[in-house]
Amino acid sequence: MNVQEIVDALSLEVKTAKGDLSRTVTGCYISDLLSDVMANAKEGEIWITLQTHPNVVAVASLKNLGGIIVTNRRSPEAETLQKAENEGVVIAVSPLSTFEVGGMLYKMLRC
């Protein structure tokens, strides 16, 4: 499954790196603790979080994650979007909660 298919299925709004949606997603990691994501998320996983500040881009890029989904109608800061665009990190947003987005992704990636 790639990022584009997830974007379509979950009606996400893609904010950055629109050219990188063909990237394969291997799983999902959900956390708002950045050290936890550094320690436990795996390459290619899509990351669901409430965090919107620029450090999420560094985390996603250093861990080679498949992209970031920001939930609960939160808007990433301008600096975050700029950085993500520069580094080719996909950030997509959803009005739904982390539970709902995670639940839908669980079905898509596990069944």
Partner: protein
Amino acid sequence: MTRRNIEGSFHLSGGDFTNAGAASSELKSILTNLGINPEIVRRAAIATFEAEMNVIIHAVAGVMYYLITQDTIKVVLNDMGPGIPDIDRAMTEGYSTAPDWIREMGWGAGMGLPNMKKNSDRFKLDSVVGEGTTVEIIIRIKEGKTE
């Protein structure tokens, strides 16, 4: 294949969250471009980023120095800052003195130092209260063959 040693350094500014991670990202690209095993690069990225973040979060300013030899990646972070009064306590998973606003950013889980240690082959933490902290991370570069 042999290559010459590669070394360099980055300046880190405490509180500069916007550029946080730039040094670790740059070092990761250098390691990747050298063709170093991705698993080794991954461990180096985790350890150096957590160390870089600690300077940004807890210190005033610092330097990240790296030396890549044939066999090892060595990264030393030297900062001017408050220092660490109790190293054993600081190394305990979950221990953090980060203030609320840092925790709201998702930092301050007290996992940084343990993560650095886990991802290093050798890890050293030295600190003088009121002066600063030095972190030394050494990761062996294992090439395909076993000796």
